[in-house]
């Protein structure tokens, strides 16, 4: 058997036509996800990370959206797949969790009914058996009294419980890939940790791969194997978690990691913040899109830099390796 990543995204672009011109949400993003691997997709809001996930799931349905590139899942091209064929994959082989558990469950159906619906859409299973499976799943994600919760409505559960229910729904058909779009952002801190533990545990129990989209570096540090840093619709740095956290190569990553306090050691006198704001996606600057905010910008930055660098840890910056070595702030103890 030829080695093949589970998911292979190549040159994915997502553009929206809008009143203010073309909004370039995702611009030529390529990455792979291997089996049983957790990939963290990090960036500020508007960096295109959520749109990347939605594109993989075929959920961008705006008539103003223009998509191109390739998304291969288990060797099958998803881009341009007709709805019927797509529906045989989503929910079954790819599960998805959304940011806000308060709004991602249909308010008029019980939790159990919504899980049963997914099961019966993809498997030959009777109503009764599906209900039992739903209760098992609700139990598996750590919700107490699963049988009674199955008959509850979404509004009767707390945010954390709802997110667990959403995860149970996403995992109901043992998907090979789980897409998690900011799964903890809307939750309390203590609940966040529990949900992350759960996602990590699911990988072990179900053997699924996960793409975790977040702007919270702590979340990535805790769970991911690989990290992609996105800025203005592009991947600006990619590599194993340890490498990206300990030796970030892109000036944007420096700023990003500099803006969280170190886990241990003395607190720096001042946390650095990245000056300026992310560019408008409808009016991107020429060349490197981080250029206007970058302290090291120079004329060479007027050319769009390609992803380059040592094998497995690449960044999109024109600075030579020596300069990167010299300029990069030391990160001690992160990750």
């Amino acid at each position: 058997m030829r080695f093949e990543p589970l998911l292979e995204v190549k040159d994915l672009t997502v553009h929206f036509r809008s009143e203010e011109g073309l909004v370039e949400a995702v611009r030529g993003v390529s990455f792979n996800v291997g089996r049983n691997e957790i990939l963290g997709l990090v960036g500020e809001s508007g960096s295109g990370k959520s749109q990347t996930l939605l594109a993989i799931m075929g959920l961008i349905d705006s008539p103003n959206a223009v998509l191109s590139g390739s998304i291969r899942f288990e060797g099958q091209e998803l881009m341009g797949l007709p709805r019927r064929a797509l529906d045989r994959i989503r929910g079954k082989k790819i599960g998805m969790i959304f940011q806000d558990p308060m709004t991602s469950l249909t308010p008029v159906h019980t939790i159990g009914a919504q899980i049963v619906e997914t099961l019966r859409a993809h498997e030959q299973i009777g109503r009764k058996a599906a209900k039992d499976r739903a209760v098992e799943l609700i139990d598996a994600v750590g919700i107490p009294a699963p049988r009674s919760v199955a008959d509850r409505y979404p509004h009767q559960l707390s945010g954390g419980m709802r997110q667990r229910a959403v995860i149970a729904m996403a995992m109901s058909c043992n998907p090979a890939l789980l897409l998690a779009d900011e799964p903890t952002t809307a939750l309390d801190v203590t609940v966040q940790a529990q949900i992350l533990d759960l996602i990590g545990k699911l990988r072990e129990d179900f053997g699924s791969s996960v793409i975790l989209v977040t702007h919270d570096l702590g979340v990535v540090a805790e769970t991911a194997d690989k990290v992609n840093v996105m800025y203005a619709g592009r991947i600006v740095e990619e590599g194993p978690k340890e490498a990206v956290f300990l030796q970030p190569r892109h000036p944007y990553s420096w700023g990003l990691f500099g803006s969280i306090p170190p886990f241990d050691g003395p607190r720096p006198a001042r946390l650095s913040a990245i000056p300026g704001a992310p560019p408008k996606l409808s009016a991107l600057p020429k060349g490197c899109s981080f250029r206007p905010r970058c302290p090291h910008a120079h004329d060479a930055c007027l050319q769009e830099p390609p992803l380059a660098g040592p094998v497995g840890h690449r960044s999109a910056c024109v600075l030579p390796d020596a300069a990167i070595e010299e300029l990069a702030p030391r990160q001690e103890g992160a990750a």
Binding site: D87, S104, V108
Partner: protein, 324 residues
Amino acid sequence: MIYALAARLGQMALVMFGISVVVFLIFFATPGSDPSARIAGRNASQETLQQVRHDFGLDRPLPVQYALMMKKLFVTRDLTSFVNRGQKVIPTVTRAIPITLSLVIGAALLWLIGGLIVGLIAGATKGSWLDRTLMMISLAGVSMPVFWLGEVANLITQSRFHDSWAFSWVPALGYVPFGRDPLGWFQALVIPWIVLATLYVGLYGRVLRASLIETMQEDFIRMARAKGIGERQVLLRHGLRTSLVAFVTMFGLDFGALVGGGALLTEVVFGLQGVGKLTYDALQTLDLPMIMATVIYASFFVVMANFVVDVVHMFLDPRVRDAF
């Protein structure tokens, strides 16, 4: 929940009381003229006026007058008309109710089905030419006065095209009791049904479309799509089912309002002797006791319809159920 229902019932009683007081005040306490003259009708004799004054306790304080009127309406049910001498008002109203119900129920079925179809198609094809066409037609339907549309229908089916094959089956205006001739009942009512429903198909189609479009932008719709269930199921089980709450609420209110007098214009134009026509005729002859009776009965029906709507709402929307 039992407590909630009881509270709602109490509120309903309060509103009914309020309505009866308002009606009473309108008829008995409006400044300017003598209520006995109004009740007795035009050109009443001194003798009649005296009797009215005594019967309704007009020389006694207002609360007593109110109690006497309520007694006549609900306890002894012997309110009599002075225009049509000796006609007992309440039984007349009771006899008219089946006619109004026949008209409104038939039209309601039509407009529910029509509104559902129009709203669903337009909502699902939002922005297309089909959507725009349906919405324009709906808006036109909403914009026509129902009595005028009824006259146009009469002009076509009773006069201009009555001899053509299309409308030769249309009977002369009037009502045929269902028990006597079911087919005749249907034939007599089908044109009024369509006319009355036209307005509401447009209204309901527009409301459902708007509600559906809003719902289809919710996160849970994206979640449902991510589950890999077909678009039809997403639309019906998640989109429509959630939007239906507003639809049903509106239906209860409109149904109540129509039975409670809203169908008056349709009844007048099509010569159906329902409660509305009764009120209309009473208005022409200034038969005040009759109007009092129809107004009170109709308002109570509306209040009851509102109550039923609340209960149905509770069953449709689990969130409301728990809020009680």
